[in-house]
């Protein structure tokens, strides 16, 4: 598993993927947090990173899908899946190696935003006045959310040779899991069970974590979510054996 992990990380670095992902994420969140739109930190006048944490899930839908789309599609297209799966390594080992490499990239994309935390805490009145608990909770939630998106992206990549199809499919499933389930929950006709439907959405648990309370139920939810998609990915990966 770690051999695969190492190889994936190397390929992120040598293909500049890692660099581009970090820069794009930083630019988009940076611009919307400090410069554009009516919701910048200065407009709101609150020393909080809530702008970034509301925005990041949507940026991630695109970025994570773009990063994960090549995981298996490319191997299928090149045919390297055949050499890879005839080596003494289990299928799950291959999948987990790639999964953790992608999650690592997500974490590294978040690291530079710690500068924002520093800036805002300096801008606070008095200096250092920021809800640190909520911030760490949100970071933690964002990493778990990125990991969940990664598992979706890997699944999408496993079912097709075409990277564009993988990208679009992944974005679609991410959007449904993050946004649409909550919208469905608000339909009037579903009043009785609306809340339960929303509970299955990623956003429900993400916002729960962003309040700064580490609830084990949310943790279990995120881990199960990733686990489910990794399991489906494994099924798809092994479908050549059917």
């Amino acid at each position: 598993m770690w051999v695969i992990y190492k190889k994936e990380i190397r390929s992120f670095l040598s293909s500049l993927t890692a660099f581009i992902v970090m820069v794009v994420f930083l630019i988009i969140t940076g611009l919307l947090m400090w410069v554009f739109g009516g919701n910048t930190v200065f407009d709101l006048g609150i020393s909080s990173m809530v702008v970034m944490f509301n925005l990041a899930p949507y940026v991630f839908i695109f970025l994570v899908s773009a990063v994960t789309m090549r995981s298996f599609s490319e191997e299928k297209r090149l045919g390297t899946l055949e050499t890879l799966s005839t080596r003494p390594i289990s299928d799950l080992g291959v999948i987990l190696g790639k999964y953790f490499a992608n999650v690592t990239l997500v974490i590294f994309a978040l690291l530079p935003t710690l500068i924002y935390y520093y800036s805002i805490s300096e801008l606070g009145d008095p200096t250092g006045n920021i809800d640190t608990g909520a911030m760490w909770g949100s970071y933690f939630g964002l990493i778990l959310l990125g990991a969940a998106y990664t598992s979706i992206g890997m699944f999408a990549s496993a079912i097709t040779e075409n990277q564009i199809v993988a990208l679009i499919l992944s974005m679609l499933i991410c959007l449904v899991s993050y946004e649409v389930l909550g919208m469905v929950g608000e339909i009037k006709a579903l009043e009785g069970i609306g809340k339960s439907i929303h509970w299955f959405g990623l956003d429900f648990h993400y916002y729960s974590l962003s309040r700064g309370v580490l609830d084990t139920r949310d943790l279990v939810y995120f881990i199960s979510f990733s686990g489910l998609f990794i399991w489906i990915t494994k099924l798809v990966y092994e479908s050549r054996k059917w």
Partner: protein, 305 residues
């Protein structure tokens, strides 16, 4: 036995790709796996390398069952798939290092050096795989197959698409490797089998039609003389048949005849026949019973050569 295949069958839907085949390969043997395109060569190889499971039957590699001890099998097998898939963006050394670590090699750096020397990739080792010519890519493919020092090598058409010089180089490389390893190599080129293999398995439409040493195969077809003769004028079939000991005579082209006989002195008789009757002979060739012909006869497939 390094490879033991028993009653192996693979079906894709209704299509039978491999039909109850059984064969064995002993240690240190180089086995040529011969057959027209679509005969089931690649499918058999994919099953032996644990890429796809068989529909029926079993196979053992180095004593390990491909279904139950898949990881063990993969440790003992080196595989070069048909189109030699490689990560084009990786450097040669980087890729071999990756393959060595995946193969659980003890001292990867050392082993990569050895394999690069063995496949004579020294001059290209610092390049990206994308930059290599087809011949060198094929060497990288071979290098990754042997990197974990497997006992069995399975090579699917290792020389296809190479130029004649590269073909000879790759063949020499395989021959050298065959001194210590069991090699199974698939091809549809006769000369390749004649050049490197000890044994031939001919497969056609999923069935094994021959499994023997090269020598035995040649001998079984021997004892027959085939002569191609071209006359300057039109000949009568009756007249040709009157040649002593002529078993079969067929006109292939204008005035060209294929004559078959069991008599080893048939050539002299043909030339005497021409002299006696004062026929002008433009060409007289004795056709050797080559492997190619055996193959054609067994697979009944001229077009696929």
């Amino acid at each position: 036995m390094s490879i033991e295949v028993t009653n192996l069958t693979k079906k894709y839907g209704d299509q039978v790709a491999v039909n109850h085949i059984s064969f064995q390969a002993g240690k240190g043997e180089i086995v040529g796996f011969l057959g027209p395109n679509g005969a089931g060569k690649s499918t058999t190889m994919k099953i032996l390398t644990c890429f796809i499971p068989p529909t029926e039957g079993t196979a053992k590699v180095c004593g390990f069952d491909i279904g139950e001890k898949s990881i063990e099998v993969r440790k003992h097998v080196g595989y070069l798939p048909e189109h030699n898939p490689l990560y084009l963006e990786m450097y040669v050394k980087e890729y071999l290092r990756f393959a060595a670590e995946l193969g659980k090699t003890k001292n990867p750096a050392q082993r990569v050096k050895e394999v690069i020397a063995l496949t004579r990739l020294e001059s290209e080792q610092h390049k990206k795989i994308r930059q290599l010519s087809k011949g060198y890519r094929q060497r990288v493919g071979l290098a990754q197959a042997i990197i974990h020092d497997p006992e069995v090598l399975i090579l699917d058409e290792p020389t296809s698409g190479l130029d004649p010089n590269q073909v000879i180089e790759i063949r020499d490389l395989i021959k050298n490797l065959g001194k210590e390893k069991t090699i199974m190599i698939s091809t549809h080129i006769m000369q390749e089998v004649e050049a490197i293999c000890d044994r031939v398995i001919i497969i056609d439409k999923g069935n094994i039609v021959a499994d023997d040493t090269l020598e035995n195969l040649r001998n079984s077809a021997a004892g027959k003389v085939i002569i191609r003769i071209q006359f300057a004028e039109k000949m009568d079939a009756e007249k040709i048949k009157s040649i002593p000991n002529c078993d079969k005579a067929t006109e292939t082209e204008n005035n060209t005849w294929l004559l078959e006989s069991a008599d080893s002195a048939f050539r002299q008789q043909v030339s005497q026949f021409a002299l006696k009757n004062n026929y002008e002979v433009l060409e007289l060739v004795s056709e050797k019973n080559t492997l190619e012909e055996i193959f054609r006869k067994l697979t009944g497939n001229v077009g696929h050569l």
